[in-house]
Symmetry: none
Subunit: 374 residues, 2 copies
């Protein structure tokens, strides 16, 4: 367990391309990095292991949020506060990728990209001039069978040429379930993994990896954010059993471990977060409205916060004052807490007519309340 968490922690700090992901290579890499860092990380793991409880501990979300959110320094330049890319948006769905991408910006990312189908692009562009929208994905209906291989290669190459610029991918909001499109997205996930780019998976992205779990298995920079139904499917597929709410924490830990230590944020009345080592809960009161789109805010938010958490951990050089220390878990805790606070403020104002767009309008104020700009 200690070894696996070490892998999670350390690989997430690495920016080397093409690292081999089989477990023996990971072990070698982990030992090398522990040696390089002089054992400072070692003591953190021990602390974390001691923190394990039988019941999930409420995360110290506000402190975590304050710690990982970067100070606003006038000397910094465009891009340093985060470059996020959303892979999603098809003929049917355009709202979801917009919600994810604009939420990332509203929290403080500098650049937010969307990679979507050609049909979806003009619509997503029309929602906001703040986003960079790439009309490059293709669905089966628009291409002949003979062209599939060529077009797939083109699509994947097009995303890959941007890959190294991104601090995090969000895969899934409004992606749809077209088989050809999902094949291309599988390749994009493989490339992101090769480039050590963190990936948040939600919606149809989660549908894809639930059916092809190898895409994320053993990748410590993958975050899955299932809702009730998505979690049920994931448990059935991976653990081959039904959801057990009597031992929610134990089952969540098993699930994460079975997928090789990916981080899972199980959405619910309380959000439960694990990386296979620890389980944390976020129970801040949000909103009782269940309008569609809130999951998209969450995925965009987690993407920003986990990018910031990685920067924070890297800069702290072992002097990390918050627990836990796995940046994907920190990102989930911060994203969950911020969404809940914004939803609660929006609901206070809009009551039953609260929509996802209203919640997004409160992301900034919620962050400011917890972590003032100056």
């Amino acid at each position: 367990m200690y070894v696996k968490h070490g892998m999670s922690q350390l690989t997430s700090l690495s920016s080397a391309r093409n690292c081999t992901l089989s477990s023996s290579a990971v072990l070698r890499r982990q030992h090398f990095l522990i040696r390089s860092l002089g054992g400072g990380v070692h003591s953190n793991f021990c602390t974390q292991n001691r923190m394990q409880e039988t019941k999930p501990l409420e995360a110290d979300a506000e402190n975590i949020l304050r710690a990982i959110t970067p100070t606003l320094d006038p000397t910094r330049h465009k891009g340093q506060a985060g470059k996020i890319a959303v892979i999603g948006g098809c003929r049917e769905y355009t709202g979801a990728p917009y919600f994810a991408a604009i939420s990332a910006l509203k929290i403080g990312a500098d650049l937010s990209h969307v990679f979507c189908t050609k049909d979806a692009a003009p619509v997503i562009k029309s929602y906001s001039p703040e986003l960079i929208v790439h009309p490059i994905l293709e669905e089966s209906y628009s291409i002949g069978d003979g062209d599939k291989k060529y077009i797939s290669g083109k699509v994947v190459a097009e995303v890959d040429k941007w890959m190294e610029r991104f601090d995090c991918l969000v895969v899934g909001p409004g992606l749809g379930r077209d088989p050809f499109l999902l094949d291309c997205v599988s390749e994009i996930i493989k490339q992101a993994r090769q480039s050590n780019v963190p990936i948040v998976l939600d919606g149809d992205g989660l549908f894809l990896v639930t059916n092809s779990i190898d895409l994320v298995s053993g990748y410590p920079l993958a975050v899955l954010t299932p809702n009730v139904n998505e979690y049920k499917r994931l448990v059935q597929k991976v653990l081959n059993c039904e959801v057990n709410d009597q031992d929610a924490q134990g089952q969540l830990l098993s699930l994460s471990r079975r997928i090789g230590g990916v981080t899972i944020l199980r959405k619910g009345k309380s959000d439960l977060i694990t990386d296979g080592e620890i389980v944390k809960s976020v129970s801040i009161y949000g909103s009782p409205r269940r309008c569609g789109g809130q999951g998209d805010i969450l995925s965009g938010s987690v993407a920003v916060f986990l990018s910031w958490a990685r920067q924070y951990i890297l800069a702290a050089e072992g002097n990390v004052t918050i627990r836990p220390t796995n940046p994907t878990v920190l990102g989930c805790i911060a994203g969950s807490a911020l969404l809940r606070k914004a939803a609660s403020l929006a609901f206070e104002n809009r009551k039953r007519s609260t929509l996802t767009g209203d919640i997004i309008e409160y992301l900034g104020r919620s962050l400011e309340d917890i972590c003032p700009a100056y």
Copy 2:
């Protein structure tokens, strides 16, 4: 009459597929259900029959609205507060389906879909990222004669695969009158009916069923919401006479009975609502502005409220404290009252420049005034 109302009430609670709609089958079903419910429903019918008056009674709209609006419970998940679908939106009209669909969300539905033509979709999508817009309907101009059967089958199958997820369809806002498109919509209505999904018909949807009354005849979950002209055409076509305002209530009752007990909301200075058993009026002061689009708000609102009324009646298990008890009538009363209140608040604020979008912005506050979230 007693028997017919029983059918209306009880079939509306049933979720069984493929119920036969001929009157003998309905009678058998009704007797079975009355036996199953231990006669509790019987006494309601008697009460309702006693409530019949020669003049329409003003509905106790605010109490009804409070009773049927679900409490906001944090344990509920996405979809439980309602999933509505609007069938409408063509090359010519895009505002109407947007108004209907966004109103459903602003009242408190969780998900709102629009099924429209390919031309209309990007525009409707661009009005709001909150809606899920399916570009699947086709008009004659875009297809060859030889393809009609194939394309019609595809369109209908595409809507049908979603059908069971919907709590109510709104058919008509901005639908247009293209013959091929209306043929497809006729099939969609038949499928909704087979799946026992309630249908609110307005605008061009009402034009369609006025000319093909069998589409809704005898379906207790159909709601027609005619304005002055649409009502005139309906009376002419079904009753073969002119509108008689001396006996507005009697004629409305006859009309509903002649169409086998569908619910009719006749819009006017006062809205009159009947299911062929009782007539209720809603006369709350609204707005003197008659800008286009208010009927679309009404159709989307009725869809949400009738879905909530069905849930309420089902959960009450015979202990229903409001009258009447037919959920389609309850939905009409609540929808009419809320629109009038919102229109009045919008007019207070915007006066002559009040537009439909302004009224939509007051739906939330109006609901909150009558039925506070907490």
